[in-house]
């Protein structure tokens, strides 16, 4: 069976689908090829245990670009985001920190810990929103090449410099600090409450193999702060029906625009013809032809498995092999008979409806990292949890619940043993850790799914289990993402593009990579000879 398209998208994750939707809307005959039977990549909902539906990997949404929601009319395609109110952090001494979206409420709660921090929180929130405003337009930008003398690159560089200079001096300083400091040092400047700093710093290391005290982590803090739902900064939500519902809505928009989507269609090779792509070869032996192939899978898979090192320049191969994909997190999904009961705030109160995190102190976070640095999973990990069934009861049988636990650190490369023999022990350590704060947990677990970085790689095609398809560290951001010189969604293979999280601006259910790539591709189309 052979067939011809204008563009083929490898991978039906949310970014691949976004690219497909935009290309189809641009009038291109587009085909999406997804290896698994379900769409969504890491944004997927699956009924893992009868009656229990899990957002298996990615579990909350906030970064999804509003322009994508608007342009693709995702609401009409069934996307509904339920607010996730607040973050609850239990502490070992029996106290807790519970921040909610209501500002006055959070202030009161913070004053309980430190009056000074309550004041600083106002100032901090304002500053972060300002910083977010500065960075936001950069998310939609195609990175320029700082080493090139191309006038367009220079113009972009200059306009960025101009915008930076237009910032007040204190914001300039903050911006640089955000880009370069450690999350812990950055937060130290504002706050004294340990648990507050730890919980905030946690988002600075999510998905990254760095500790909260390592420079560069402050940026990831902002990356997560920029989440925007209905125009409100720093609000997180749960899609009704799990994160798979986002993928389905985007897929529906893509199909409506004319894109074709095939699941259960793993791509084996990118077809090459004299240095340019001519389509793909499926694992079942079928070939599909197109002059444009956009890969939403990570660069390691794209270039080393599907293209082949021998077809690529040496420097490029070296750079791709240096691209850091070290996975640092795992996921534990629990099917529960009842709600967990936290010692520090007993009962099924509204605190359970928001995020629940185990991040009691900066030292706790740092020690969790120390274990991982030397090739072990954290004995006491940082855990970020949600109970989606409280907002969306359809995810479990009546009266039952789902507890979704993001766990860090779980290094892909274990120094001793393999993930296959340590999976359940890893799961135990997660349950034990949570049970220290919610002792009834062990009695209410009906089923448990443990995903190690190795599982994320095998099941979801995330090389080394990295949830962002490459760490969000300074040397892998913007014009350095994924590799120096190839940050503009193009690759050394003509006609082959990248459109996944491994490109600027990076991971999270954001869709920006997919949209930026689609725009680049559509622009190339207008030029002759491509």
């Amino acid at each position: 069976m052979t067939s011809r398209y204008d563009a083929i998208i490898i991978g039906g994750g949310h970014n691949g689908l976004v690219t497909a939707a935009y290309l189809a809307r641009g009038g291109k005959k587009t085909l999406v090829l997804e290896r698994r039977r379900v769409l969504g990549g890491a944004a997927v909902t699956e009924e893992v245990f009868p009656g229990f539906r899990f957002s298996v990997c990615s579990y909350v949404v906030s970064l999804l670009r509003p322009e994508i929601i608007r342009e693709l009319e995702l609401a009409r395609h069934g996307l509904e985001i339920l607010p996730l109110d607040g973050t609850f952090t239990p502490m070992p001494d029996g106290d807790y920190l519970w921040r909610v979206n209501d500002h006055a409420e959070t202030r009161r709660e913070l004053s309980r810990h430190s009056r000074r921090d309550a004041e600083a929180y106002e100032e901090y929130s304002r500053a972060m929103v300002d910083m977010g405003r500065f960075v936001k337009p950069i998310l939609g930008m195609t990175p320029f090449d700082p080493t090139s003398c191309d006038p367009r690159s220079l113009m972009q560089l200059l306009s960025l410099g101009k915008r930076f200079r237009a910032l007040p001096r204190c914001s300039q300083q903050l911006q640089v600090q955000l880009a370069t400091m450690s999350a812990a040092d950055f937060l130290d400047q504002w706050f004294e409450t340990d648990v507050l700093k730890a919980t905030m710093a946690a988002s600075g290391v999510t998905g990254t193999f760095l500790g909260v005290r390592s420079p560069g982590t402050a940026y990831v803090l902002l990356h997560h702060y920029m989440g925007e739902i209905d125009g409100a900064f720093r609000s997180w939500g749960l899609p009704r029906g799990g994160t798979g519902a986002i993928s389905n809505a985007i897929a529906s928009a893509a199909r409506e625009a004319g894109a074709e989507i095939r699941t259960g269609a793993p791509v084996a090779k990118v077809l090459l013809n004299r240095g340019r792509t001519s389509g793909v070869l499926l694992e079942n032996g079928d070939s599909v032809f197109a002059n444009i192939v956009a890969s939403s899978v990570d660069p390691r898979l794209t270039f080393f498995k599907m293209v082949g090192k021998e077809h690529l320049p040496d420097d490029f191969v070296e750079d791709v092999s240096r691209y850091k994909l070290r996975g640092s997190s795992g996921k534990v999904n629990l099917a529960l008979d009842a709600l967990p009961n936290f010692t520090s705030l007993p009962g099924a109160g509204p605190h359970l409806r928001g995020g629940l995190t185990i991040s009691p102190s900066v030292d706790y976070m740092e020690r969790a990292y120390d274990d991982a640095k030397y090739g072990k999973y954290s004995r006491h990990p940082y855990i970020d949890m949600v109970i989606p069934t409280l907002s969306d009861p359809s995810m479990a049988p009546p009266g039952k619940h789902v507890l979704s636990c993001f766990v860090q650190y779980a290094p892909y490369h274990l120094r001793s043993g393999t993930w296959d023999d340590q999976r359940e022990r890893f799961g135990d350590s997660v349950v034990d850790t949570i049970a220290e704060y919610a002792p009834n947990l062990k009695d209410i677990i009906l089923h448990r799914q443990v995903l190690t970085p190795l599982d994320l790689e095998r099941e979801f095609g995330l090389t080394e289990g990295n949830i962002f398809q490459g760490e969000l560290t300074l040397e892998q951001l913007f014009f350095l993402r994924p590799v120096p010189g190839w940050a503009r969604y193009r690759t050394p293979v003509r006609g082959l593009y990248l459109c996944g999280s491994s490109t600027h601006p990076g991971g999270g259910i954001m869709g920006a990579s997919g949209r930026n790539a689609a725009q680049r591709i559509l622009r190339r189309w207008r030029l002759p000879g491509t």
């Binding site: 370069t180 760095l210 640095k373 030397y374 300074l474």
Partner: protein
């Protein structure tokens, strides 16, 4: 300007007072005096040199108490100060570095790249080849911004034509690196040095040696991002992949004395044992300084070689500064992690790795820097302790034996050993510093004894300087040897704080010339040189406008 000391001592009026007779203060003093400014340098201690001094360690033993390697000075500065005329003899040891390994072997690295590569060949052929490529590449990249260390960072708010010109020149140099190295520079600035060395080398020993330069004096481990930038800065300053190892005959104190002599010959007056208590400010301008004995000395210009925290939080009244500036200075990170241990030894320590070497070979091998820290994880674990307020169980050590280059520092056949030990954080959590001093010393000796087993028996005397001692004795706030962390957000236009990186301060007439300014720490004199250029520029502008008014 050729006035004798006697004549100058009755001159009671000065144009400029330099607070602190450290090497940067002395370099600034030299250039100001040379331009005809009447300069007075006030040093709190009884000797000049700041962190570059030679002190008595034990009867008959003298030692570079704190810093143990200097330079390189900028060729222009070296020429202008003509230090050799003032008795300064810098020697570069060769071999430059000795790194004993736990398996009893050692890397002995010569200055010359190919010779070093040959020694590395015994460990790994791959690394031997890579070493040559790496040192070339690092020098190309580090060298590309060497020049810019000797320039004043541009104004971010009102760049002058010259700022723009310098920026364009920098951009040209950056492009001159080519695409590959240009991107390397950008990546390396942001990377953990551990990742950087892993891209080049396979042997633990070499990875650790290069990584160590990224954490030297810093509050970072090799796995912390930002240590790559520290390595590049060291390279730009030092110009060699294995760090500077130059020592002075007579210890670094002799080097500082040479600087003082050069400044004195240019007309600067230097008073030791004179502590400045505060800087007098009236209506936003400096009028002079008040000494701790209450004496006031008037001068229009006050140039502080002290670190930014000391200058703005101790010497200047908070009421004379904008609160947001004070906050920025308070936030400036200067928490030291280094301790200094000096030993008087009755013989050269016997390193296991040199057991079969001849006496000459042994002496030669130990003449440069001795690196203790066999692998990246060792260095990282040493750092881990400091994160939780403890000092390393197994510290990273940078050691020299100054008596090899200059036997006069100790009685015949005996030696002094100078050890920089990391990590010893300024803030201890479960102990207090003076009390923990002995424990720290024991761990350092133990770490060394792992490679030189009979070291303990050789020790006649040990001196242990904790970060708190560095603060009290040398005036380094927080015990930070670089007057503040070399971090991307405290670098270039942001050192010490954004908007005040041009050696000027919010107080008219008050300048900074210490390592808390661009380009930071290291005994290179760059801060003092740059500061004096800015001060002279302001003076010319002022006299220019006076002339036009007249």
């Amino acid at each position: 300007m050729e006035a004798s000391g006697h004549v100058r001592s009755i001159v009671k009026s000065y144009d400029a007072i330099i607070i602190g007779g450290g090497h940067n203060g002395l370099v600034a003093a030299f250039y100001l005096a040379k331009a005809g400014v009447r300069v007075l340098v006030l040093e709190r201690r009884d000797r000049v040199g700041g962190a570059a001094v030679t002190d008595d360690l034990y009867p008959g033993f003298r030692c570079p108490t704190l810093a143990h390697a200097a330079g390189p000075l900028h060729p222009t500065v070296a020429r202008d100060l003509a230090l050799h005329r003032h008795g300064v003899r810098l020697t570069e040891p060769d071999p430059r570095l000795f790194a004993p390994q736990p398996d009893g072997r050692a890397l002995v690295l010569h200055t010359e790249t190919t010779r070093a590569a040959a020694s590395i060949g015994a460990f790994s052929k791959h690394d031997s080849e890579q070493y040559v490529a790496f040192s070339e590449c690092l020098e190309k990249i580090g060298g590309a911004f060497r020049d810019f260390l000797w320039r004043t960072p541009p104004s971010t708010e009102n760049p002058t034509a010259n700022d723009v010109w310098q920026l364009l020149k920098a951009a040209r140099r950056f492009r001159g690196l080519g695409k590959r190295n240009g991107f390397r520079l950008l990546r390396w600035l942001a990377m953990p040095v551990a990742d950087l060395v892993a891209e080049w080398f396979e042997t633990d020993a070499l990875q650790a040696i290069v990584s160590a330069r990224g954490i030297y004096g810093m509050n970072l481990g090799p796995k912390s991002a930002g240590s790559g930038m520290a390595l590049l800065l060291q390279q730009a300053l030092g110009g060699h992949v294995l760090a500077t190892a130059a020592s002075a005959k007579g210890g670094l104190g002799a080097f500082s004395k040479g600087l003082a002599a050069a400044a004195g010959a240019a007309g600067a007056e230097i008073r030791t044992g004179t502590e400045v208590a505060r800087v007098d400010v009236q209506r936003g301008s400096t009028t002079g300084v008040v000494l701790s004995d209450g004496t006031t000395i008037a001068a229009r210009l006050i140039v502080s070689g002290a670190d930014p925290k000391r200058t703005f939080l101790n010497l200047v009244a908070a009421s004379d500064l904008d609160p947001s500036f004070v906050t920025a200075i308070q936030r400036y990170r200067a928490s030291g992690t280094m301790a200094k241990i000096n030993l008087a030894l009755d013989a050269l320590p016997e390193f296991t790795a040199l057991a079969s070497a001849t006496a000459t070979e042994r002496t030669a091998a130990l003449g440069g820097r001795i690196h203790i820290g066999p692998d990246v994880d060792y260095l990282e674990r040493a750092f881990d302790a400091s994160k939780y307020g403890g000092y390393s169980e197994h510290p990273y050590l940078d050691v020299t034996i100054p008596t090899i280059a200059d036997p006069t520092l100790a009685p015949d056949g005996q030696h002094v050993m100078s050890i920089c030990a990391q990590f010893a954080p300024y803030h201890l959590r479960n102990e207090k510093w003076p009390a923990a001093r002995r424990g720290l010393g024991d761990r350092v000796i133990r770490a060394l004894a792992a490679y030189a087993p009979r070291l303990e028996d050789r020790i006649l005397h040990r001196q242990i300087l904790t970060p708190v001692d560095l603060e009290t004795t040398y005036g380094l706030t927080g015990g930070h040897i670089f007057h503040g962390e070399h971090a991307l957000d405290q670098f270039f236009t942001m050192r010490p704080v954004l908007g005040w990186a041009q050696y000027r301060t919010p107080i008219a007439g008050l300048y900074l010339c210490g390592a808390g300014t661009h380009p930071g720490g290291g005994i290179t004199g760059a801060c003092g040189f740059n500061a004096s250029r800015e001060i002279l520029r302001d003076l010319r502008k002022a006299s220019g406008s006076r002339r036009t008014q007249g």
